[in-house]
Amino acid sequence: MRLELRDITKQFPGVLANDRISIAADRGKVLGLLGENGAGKTTLMNILSGLYKPDSGQIFIDGEERVFGDPAAAIHAGVGMVHQHFMLVPVFDVVEAVALGAETVSGPFGTFDRAAARARIVELSERYRLEVDPDAKIESLPVGLRQRVEILKALYRHSDILVLDEPSAVLTPSETEELFGIIRSLTATGTTVVFITHKLNEVLEVADDIVVLRRGRVAGSANPKTTTRQELANLMVGRDVELIVPKGPANPGKIVLSLQGVKVRDDRLDMAVDGVDLEVRGGEIVAIAGVQGNGQTELVEAIVGLRQIDAGQMTIGDQHIERSSPRQVSDLGVAHIPEDRGRDGLIAHMSVAENYILDTYHREPYSKRGIFDRKAVRDGAAKGVKDFDIRTPSVDTSASSLSGGNQQKVVVAREFSVPVQLVVAAQPTRGLDVGSIEYIHRRIIEQRDAGAAILIVSTELDEVLAVGDRIAVMYDGKIVGILSGADATHENLGLLMGGATFGPGAAA
């Protein structure tokens, strides 16, 4: 079916989330809806799925105007939505989860006709090569398969228009590839797909048309065959952005962080880090690449004092930190950008100002002898907000109401608000949009150029290649190779990440 939105406008208190947005997607085509966080993508899709009512504007399906009073009306009209956060009951099996709310019933008591539902699900799963076991429990399925269950749910409800909201955010690269395969088989049978994302590569790969949103408006559209990443990025951000922040050659100085034979156990007491030797010098960025779950998290936690080490030596400068607390490590001038900012880096219900001083609150000028100087706190936070261009109504705003990029800027601003000799950054740009990624990279490179040693852990090869002066690959708790930034490519890093060992400089 052909989908068309015409002049959709939606006003929230203080924000024009959608300003006369018009988009169209033809039958069997993929419309890529690209935009930064806060551009209005999700609002637009919530209007399309009947969760919000537009203040003005029309929705046409196959040329016929539709008004969606509620999500049921949208589903009835054939619009299926796959949300970023899945809505599945963990203890249900696939058949139950898919049929929930749209059960086929039979008999005088309206008994759930499981066999009929199962047959249909098997048929759909085969037709679109979703390869979902209908009898598997949801909780036993990996994230990628849960997403397919969500897609099945939409198809089961006869959706001809499928809206995918940031579908790759939770997927591994190979799962994303498989998702693209599914999208292709869906469009081949006439399903229209709206693919919402902020990732440039993905729209270029999968979309037939691209519409870029910026600040609630259509910033432009592009043909994926002729456009470039750079062009799309510029449209998204509204200025010329640098996808790869330029940096001069590293100027390594003395060793700041030194790890020797470090062994760390994870929460299940398995050896997660199994003898890591690594040195990071002042003025260089060492990036640790690797598939999630190869010990990177535990290694970072050990360095910053959050996890006991089993064996080995760790020093920062000439200080041993094997037994140091997070506070002691931090006092040595270590900035830590944690992997999961929502859980570890920020306190969502506290204000921007309070989050800005979260690990420096006990120092002057913010407090003296245990008493806060509230003016100093506010002034300090206001300076951080200004320096890092954090978009917030005020420093008293709760951190939870900021966008992901701005939350991360609060974390980075805080960590860089005091002089640092070592930066430990885990997934510093996960889930951020292009503009924010550029900004965070720039700030990290600034720290390097000021002489700090930088250790970045990332699962994104693009990030590792963009910022790393040296790239260490971690696999199964060990560093399986260290390449210079110049020698590293997607291919040789990918091989190392898969467990192959080769080449010069491969460390023990």
Partner: protein
Amino acid sequence: MSRTKRVLRAARVPILAVVTALLIGAILIILTDFDNLSRLGTDPVGAVLALIGGVVSGYGAMLTGAFGDPARILAAISSGSANDIATAIRPITETLVAATPLIFAGLGVAISFRGGMFNIGGDGQLILGALAATIVAIVLAGQVPPFIILVVSIIAATIAGGVWGFFPGFLKARTGAHEVITTIMLNYIAALVVYFALRSPEIRAAGSTSPVSKSLGPIVDVPTIIPLPGIRLDYGFVVALLMAVAVSALLFRTTKGFELRAAGFNLTAARYAGMSAGGSMMLAMALSGALAGMGGGFMVIGTVGQLSLDLSGGIGFTAIALALLAGLRPSGVVVAALLFGAMTNGGKLMGIQSGIPFDLLGFIMALVIMFVAAPGLIRSIWRIKVDKPAPELAVSVQPTASE
């Protein structure tokens, strides 16, 4: 948004919760007024008026019982008779007397909740504080001036309550034992400790068959604020207000309070920021218990003057409700405690004058708590729009650094 506006906005749900509970209470008063209900068929107008009149006189009596009769207060003051004035203002002073231990215990609960600890043990901490104060008073009786006895016994009460609160905090921090379980159990232990102590002939009232302590009045008393006969309101109330200020300052002006709140909101982030999560738990629980214990001390030395097993009367639990009603704000705790004090105190006169059972108050208070716990219910009843910000805000506002 201005400060007053913010406060009003925050107070909207609690206020409406109270109003709604009172309205439902009114319906219950009407539905149990069988005499007038049975007249509905024969004399509908008269019956309806009488039903409404019943509610008005019942709630009116509660108001008078809680705050006194203004005309009578004015008349008494102009007459100048100490006895008249005392009688006229007694309702309002008794409301403050009832509110005082609630403020102490409510502040305690607020602190523990702020620190992420669910302190159900207010009752035990309060009564153990009262026991400590009683023992100190009896031991020191006649040896040092009463004022010294007062100070030492209140300090002892505070420490005893604090220790009793610290235990579960320590157990949680060190072993992960859940504080809800441990504090509930420690309530029983505290009650039994008091029972045991009251068997001692040194403490027990001479010749009494029931487990109550000697009367402490002859040994020590908290000075009253208004020197009129029969007015029990003492400086414990003033100390309670000072504690509210102190708790507020601790939570929002000190680094310890910051650590406590940070740990309460998000334990892992607090650890990442280098704070001692266990330390915050123990501190929150110790302070919480100390406040409850101090309240127990002032009760037993001041207004009650005698330790008994039912001294607390569930204050530790009521405190949980009012701390939630107060949104865990110290100033809110004072207001909520005054409200609960007024309802308890005024409810007695309502019972006497209008024949509406005192139990109705328990009903209304329970409704208040339920509504506060379910803000969505209140919002839907009163059609309050939630002005939460739009998802994915595209705001670009310059930072404001103005106070």
